[in-house]
Symmetry: none
Subunit: 250 residues, 2 copies
């Protein structure tokens, strides 16, 4: 039996100590090992019984963590053989752009942004829905308006689950740097997209300087930590000024 070349000591270290179930912590710890390439693709990971012995938890708990990570594509399991780090999923280049500033710069255009809102607040009904928390749950909210050549090109709304980033509470919201801090503690490097066409609200019309009938491209993103949504973002682009580009196939 080929030994998985891993150490299970301190597996739960440097994890946010927000109270969360054991299986979720285990999932997070494992997916972190995989994302950071500490565990290589196709490498065998510890068996269920090894996790059980090392962590003193029930096998069913370990089983649930590994089973869910398998369903999410991080692992591959073979009965009788073991559990292995999965090959990376193919993904479209379509949404690789996380930074509209770079994108605009790449087009040789001028980029400018305004921080419209940055605050600690209670979740509205919509925000609670997006984050999967209760209404009035603590959140951090930011709204940024991006310009391309002095024309508004994107409204970026961001909501961060406060209980998953508690240390952020200490920040001084008046400072520009605290926005940069928010970006750092809650990066959106991996998650889900939802793309649709919508009409802007009156406030958004004003901010984007478009008419109420301007069709807009709305991109919603969510990043997860275990079962919790850490950050939910909503990007709104005027249809007449923005296109998404990408490849398919291969």
């Amino acid at each position: 039996m080929s030994e998985p070349i891993v150490s299970l000591t301190n597996l739960f270290d440097d994890l946010p100590d927000a109270p969360q179930p054991i299986y979720a912590k285990l999932k997070q710890a494992i997916s972190q090992k995989i994302s950071s390439s500490e565990w290589d693709v196709n490498q065998r990971v510890p068996s269920e019984s090894e996790f059980v012995k090392a962590l003193s938890v029930s096998r069913m708990t370990v089983n649930r963590a590994l089973r869910e990570l398998t369903a999410e594509g991080f692992l591959v399991r073979h009965q009788g053989l073991g559990t292995f780090v999965a090959e990376k999923k193919a993904h479209s280049a379509l949404f690789e752009v996380h930074n509209i500033a770079e994108e605009i710069a790449a087009r040789g255009h001028k980029h400018r942004s305004e921080l419209l809102v940055l605050e600690s607040a209670k979740a509205t009904v919509e925000e609670a829905m997006m984050l999967g928390v209760r209404t009035n749950h603590g959140i951090f909210r930011s709204v940024v308006l991006h310009y391309e050549n002095d024309l508004p090109i994107q409204i970026e709304e961001r909501v961060v689950n406060a209980s998953l980033a508690p240390e952020y509470e200490q920040q001084d919201f008046a400072k520009q740097t605290s926005y940069e801090y928010l970006m750092r503690v809650a990066p959106m490097t991996e998650g889900e997209h939802l793309v649709e066409a919508v009409l802007p609200t009156p406030q958004e019309c004003e901010r984007l300087q478009v008419s109420p009938t301007e069709p807009c491209l709305q991109i919603q993103r969510r990043t997860w930590a275990g079962n919790d949504i850490v950050t939910a973002a909503r990007l709104l682009h005027p249809g007449s000024r923005f296109q998404l580009f990408g490849h398919f196939g291969r």
Copy 2:
């Protein structure tokens, strides 16, 4: 306590009797009830303990079935309240789907399509632009309207460069089979996307049965052969009925 208006007798009937685990059979039976609309959206489904009593299985087995169906988007669960049939907005896995019929079928909905146009013609200015040829260049043009549960969900316009598929000229355009032939000679398996939000033309409003201010998601696709564009397609979805779904990162 609002009673779930369902019967649990014969729940496992008319299921393929291929040997499969209990939780899988339960999943299949439930998703069948949902797909067939026998259980309505937002309706409460039986609680775990009700399944336990009715089926004489362990609660953890029921729990697994319901939990996985929740992860797959069929159900929504609320602690203390119950389990409910989830609303499902139309969404497709980020551009991997080339066949909206399959996508709709996968959602358990009814798919139907109308072939509105199928002809050999000269390229209009717009079509020439999309294909990168001169105006009046020979093309094959098709327009198909797709329905999901009798609601228009997509207009699919396709333009094929005739000089790259000359043998197609021989086809009888009156026949339905010639559309299938067009799909086969000019498959769109690899290429580029352009996604944007637009307003529909009056003709498109009529075809999609939407108002002129309905924002629509427009997806343009092009497939290449060497330096030539073989096929250009334009897919138009009403914003209120369609979302694109996908992952990013990893």
